[in-house]
Amino acid sequence: MLSEERRVDEPRVDERPGALSLIKELVAYHPGLFFVSMLGASVFAICTVASSWALRWVIDEAVLPRFDEGSNDRRTLLIGVTVLVAIALARAGGVIVRRTWAGKTQWRTAESITGEVVDRLASQPAPWHRRQRTGDLITRAGVDVEATVAVLAPLPYASSVLLMMFVAAIGLIALDAVLGALAVAVFPVLILANVQYQRRVDEWFALAQAELGSLSSATHESFEAVSVVKAFGAEHRETERLSAIATRVRAARVRAIGLRSTFEMLLDMLPNVTNVIMVLVGVHRVDAGHLTIGGLSSFIYLFALLVFPLRLVGYALSELPRSQAGRSRIHSLMDQPIVRDPRTSIFELDESTVERGSCVRLSSVTARHIEPTGTSTPDLQNPEPSNPDLRAVDLEVGCGSIVALVGPTGCGKTTLIEVIAGVLPILSGRITAPSSRAVVFQEPFLLGASLADNVTMGRGAGVDDPTVDWALGVAEASFVQELPNGIETIVGERGVSLSGGQRQRVALARAIFGRPELLLLDDTTSALDPVTERRVIDNVRRELAGTTIISVASRPSLIRMADSVVYIEAGRVIAQGTHDELLVSTPGYRELISAFERDRGEDVG
């Protein structure tokens, strides 16, 4: 059943959506917003072309008559200038509408897609998440969504430029067929050159960016290792090593800058030289009486107006592959089937179990641990760590008792806790457990919100809920009250940082908050000193009288408090009984305990 799952992989190129279907798909999210933006773009395009005609009119009808013939027709001049200004204002308005609504289309679409991704992430159960690289999934919701919608921003503009080119091409050809043909012929060349430019230069900058990425991680590693560096007098060596990487960054950058400056030069020269040729041809056309001087001027003006937008069309087109890649990465996430939730295969307590006074029953449970791939690079040679396993585990735990799971490192204690919690799926066997259960993991997860939110996790009432204080009290997390904002204190990057023991106690309070019938602890109390540990267990016993506790125990203090001990070795339950019984009956247990006693003392330093 696990083999069906796969990691969200880099999509193959041929899986990428086509440009048109991508645009259709994206526009479909908010077509109204897109329409308004296109309207603005059309106004912009039409006004751009119109402004060149207005300019021609002003030159031919007002400026030249004045200078040429000494005309004094002020009315024509004022009308012309007014029209010119009015068109420019309308054009400015068009730009504002176009860009604002393009922004709305882009970001509202991003919001919608993020929503879909988030929903999908939330509906996949824990085993699926363990198989994913954390960084990868976060990228889907962030960078990939942004890449996907990136094409929407320049789309109205690019469309309007195409419209403008079409209108202008007709206008230019109508004005003068020869010159018009010359100008129109340059447009596609410019677009192609721009697309090439964007792709090539982006490639080099991406390379430089990648080098910068490796510089950044090497720097972080080196600074983190500073005490080792100092201990071995390796300051100079490390400086050289990092400097070598920085040199690669520089080399990539300089190459990119060289390429960019050459391209920029060519892209600048092409329209300028075309312009000069147009003047040359135009002069002959004027000389032959096919064109007026005003016509020639407006020609050059219009051409200049189109050159800059054409460059942006190139930019828009170069965004397409990025958007396509982003979209297909999101698709590959969304298309994965929802994995079966392991919790659904845990049976509610049946009467026969309850009659026997048991709260948790496992019969021949086999399970495979799934190592969270987390942020570390996945091990490609060994993608499915097969150990530790649980092999045909039978276990019965009495209601209201405290059970300690004991065994050497890697024996399957954590796996056992996780299958009972319903975080890991079982391969075979049967688990019966109360549905009201809570688990505290070895590495407590706290969210970057208030302590109260961390305890409630969206359950029940707000901050005034006295249950929060009660749960914190039971978990011996009274340090919370001493924080500047009490339970309203924000934890994490933007708030206070808590010590390991403090984090554990908050996570414990979260578990206690729901008054579970079954409390599963994965070595939770190991970060506490023995006195606090004792108090926590006593509190839970007192306040949650009927609650069964199953806890992984890695030190003697907790074992002392347990009603019974389950000794596990290599994924099998070897023995179950009291501490004293196991000391007598089980040699492996005896050895482990004496190892604890021999050397694994509490930190006295």
């Binding site: 007002a62 400026v63 200078f67 200038v81 010119l84 420019a88 730009v95 922004g103 882009q106 991003a110 919001e111 993020t114 929503g115 939330a122 998440h129 976060i138 919701a141 510089l215 590693e221 600074f223 983190e224 500073v226 560096v229 100092k230 071995f232 007098g233 300051e235 060596r237 400086t239 990092l242 520089r250 950058r253 800058i257 030069m265 600048d268 300028n272 000069v276 003047v279 002069v283 002959h284 004027v286 064109l291 007026t292 001087i293 050059i300 987390g374 690079t377 969206g458 890695s554 003697p556 002392r560 501490h579 305990i593 190892a595 604890f596 021999r598 050397d599 003392g601 509490e602 330093g605």
Partner: protein, 630 residues
């Protein structure tokens, strides 16, 4: 390190505060910016080399921009002057003259284009060289500043100095400085050409366009604010989705999926809102240039028409002016954007310079004395040390090591014990010369530690820290960190010498096994084994061990102990002991309490008498005995 340079490691807010204070003392904020830039130029001399020539190329390149307007003017005027009485103006066009002009224009465009490209490339190459230089100096300095400045909170800031702060400078050079150079050149050239054509119309353009600068500045400021907000919103979105992913187990266990998607969607909504606002602000930039441009053009057409040909203005000049006005206003929007980038870059430069001004700690040895080849006895002569007060706390928290008088003969194994905060770690740091005593002196074979060259000291004395850091790479790479010229054979032998070949052969690829980032593919105990071999291969006379507290499984524990025993023969071992089992095995136990050395003797001796050591020992016994209290 002075409090001043410490500020450099902290957030912008604090630095700004400091600089604002300083600026008001000096009377003007400008001088502070200028001073930073001057200091920056001094720190990166590569920037100044050939700058004059680069500017010259840029100016030459900018002349390319006025070619077309001048050509249009020439064409029109030749048409008019050729036949001012005829019905058809075109009859008088001097076609051959204009053809020659076109030829000149093309050559001019080519020269200008190549000049501009040369300017861009020169600036880019020089600035990248300068930034590489700055980075290298940062690496060197950061590795040599005090260990206190390398705590977890400050590490991110230090990495940021080398990466993002230098990046803002790079961004500035490849775009901001370039804009200053190119747009500045362009505007000056165009302004000069306009003034030559007609100073009156030129002034009209300047006056009408002047408010544009103010408008753009206002839009720009709001745009930057809007972007700042989108950045914050984006960070929040990333944080909430990261929680959804990293907390997957917990969220499932508490059925909190709905609550978490709600939070993430709220963050997505906020981000969309802020982005739309930024889009709106951004949409105002380009049109404001346009609107002012057309106002200026309208004004010059009307005024040009009004003053007419009688003033000597030609139609070509007036039309050429229309084109020049566009060219003149084009770069304004870009320049106003550059102002913010410049501010960011100056702030980045300030932080970089701040780190470069942190002194090396401990200071480098100027006049070293060679250590004798033989045994190295350690002596502490009335050594005191106090950490500098933390920011915000006025007073120092008292000495961390107070008047320690101690001699350790060569070959002894010593355990340093005491409760948290007793000063044992500080004593270890003093011995390793990570810090220098504030009073008193430490000597090795009679040579003051401060007079021993760092390179020599690190060959004779090696520290194995509590959390031994392994670099991403193979085990061999990590061992070789101790001795860069060690061969594969040397490394294998080092493992054999410490009786670790069984452990090594159990790994997938022996010494070529990859340890993962920070050594995460090895267990804590295994990382310690590698760290011990890394220390052993240096073959030092003195080993300072900061013992780990993390639980190590029994098999590794045995290996670790055996390796340590092997390593101890013929060397001085100073172990900062967290477990008293280490003290039991040591030749001599030193007990620290409240910065003072209070007990000194063998384990058996100390445990038999009343005092701190016996209390510590009893407490330890109780906690490790599973039958106690039953």
């Amino acid at each position: 390190m002075s409090a001043e340079s410490e500020a450099m490691l902290d957030d912008d807010g604090f630095i700004e505060e400091r600089f604002i204070g300083q600026a008001s003392r000096e009377g003007a904020a400008e001088s502070s910016v200028l001073r930073t830039v001057r200091e920056g130029l001094r720190a990166a001399p590569a920037l100044r080399q050939g700058l004059g020539l680069t500017v010259l190329f840029a100016l030459l390149g900018a002349t390319g921009r006025v070619v077309i307007p001048v050509l249009v003017q020439q064409t029109i005027d030749s048409g008019i002057s050729g036949d001012s009485t005829g019905q058809n103006r075109s009859e008088g066009l001097d076609v051959s003259r204009i053809s020659v002009l076109c030829g000149i224009a093309i050559v001019w465009l080519l020269i200008a284009g190549i000049s501009q490209r040369t300017a861009v490339w020169r600036l880019g190459r020089r600035s990248e060289t300068a930034l590489l230089d700055i980075r290298t100096r940062l690496f060197s300095r950061i590795h040599r500043i005090g260990i206190e400045d390398h705590n977890d909170e400050k590490r991110g800031a230090l990495v940021a100095r080398v990466t993002s702060d230098v990046e803002t400078l790079s961004q500035f050079f490849s775009w901001g400085a370039l804009s200053f150079l190119l747009s500045g050149s362009l505007m000056s050239i165009v302004a000069v050409v306009m003034l030559v054509y007609n100073w009156l119309l030129a002034l009209v353009v300047f006056v009408v366009a002047a408010p544009l600068v103010v408008v753009l500045r206002q839009v720009q400021i709001r745009l930057v604010e809007a972007y700042e907000r989108t950045r914050a919103a984006n960070a929040e979105l990333l944080a909430t989705t990261a929680e959804l992913v990293t907390g997957a187990d917990t969220i499932r266990a508490y059925d909190a999926g709905r609550e978490f998607t709600r939070r993430a969607k709220l963050a997505a909504r906020r981000k969309a809102h802020d982005q739309v606002r930024a889009s709106f602000m951004g949409s105002l930039l380009f049109p404001s240039g346009e609107v002012f441009g057309v106002f200026a053009i309208g004004a010059i057409v009307v005024i040009g028409w009004q003053i007419g040909p009688s003033s000597g203005l030609s139609a070509g000049a007036l039309i050429g002016f229309v084109f020049l006005t566009y060219r003149f206003l084009e770069p304004v929007a870009e320049l106003s954007e550059v102002i913010d980038q410049t501010q960011t870059a100056v702030a980045g430069l300030r932080r970089v310079l701040g780190v470069l001004s942190i002194p090396e700690t401990p200071p480098p040895t100027s006049d070293p004395i060679a250590l004798p080849a033989g045994p190295l006895d350690i002596c502490f002569d009335h050594v005191c040390f106090s950490y500098r007060p933390r920011r915000g706390e006025g007073e120092s928290s008292g000495p961390a090591v107070d008047d320690v008088e101690l001699c350790i003969p060569h070959g002894t194994s010593v355990a340093l014990v005491g409760s948290t905060g007793s000063g044992k770690t500080t004593l270890g740091r003093l011995l390793a010369r990570f810090i220098d005593p504030s009073e008193g002196m430490i000597t090795l074979a009679g040579v003051p530690l401060t007079r021993v060259a760092n390179d020599e000291l690190r060959k004779r004395l090696v520290v194995v820290p509590q959390e031994p850091f392994l670099f991403e790479g193979t085990i061999a790479d990590n061992v070789r960190f101790g001795r860069p010229n060690a061969t594969e054979v040397d490394i294998e032998r080092a493992f054999v010498d410490l009786d670790l070949e069984t452990w090594l052969s159990g790994l997938e690829a022996g010494v070529a096994t990859r340890v993962g980032p920070r050594g995460s593919r090895l267990s804590a105990g295994e990382r310690q084994l590698v760290a011990l071999v890394r220390a052993a291969i240096v073959d030092p006379d003195i080993l300072v061990l900061d013992e780990a507290t993390s639980s190590v499984d029994a098999v590794t524990e045995v290996g670790l102990q055996r390796a340590l025993d092997r390593l101890a023969t013929g060397r001085t071992i100073v172990a900062i002991a967290h477990r008293l089992s280490t003290a039991e095995r040591a030749d001599r136990v030193l007990v620290m309490n409240d910065a003072r050395l209070i007990q000194d003797g063998a384990h058996a001796e100390l445990v038999s008498q009343d005092g701190e050591y016996r209390d510590l020992y009893d407490a330890w016994r109780r906690s490790t005995d599973s039958n106690a209290g039953q």
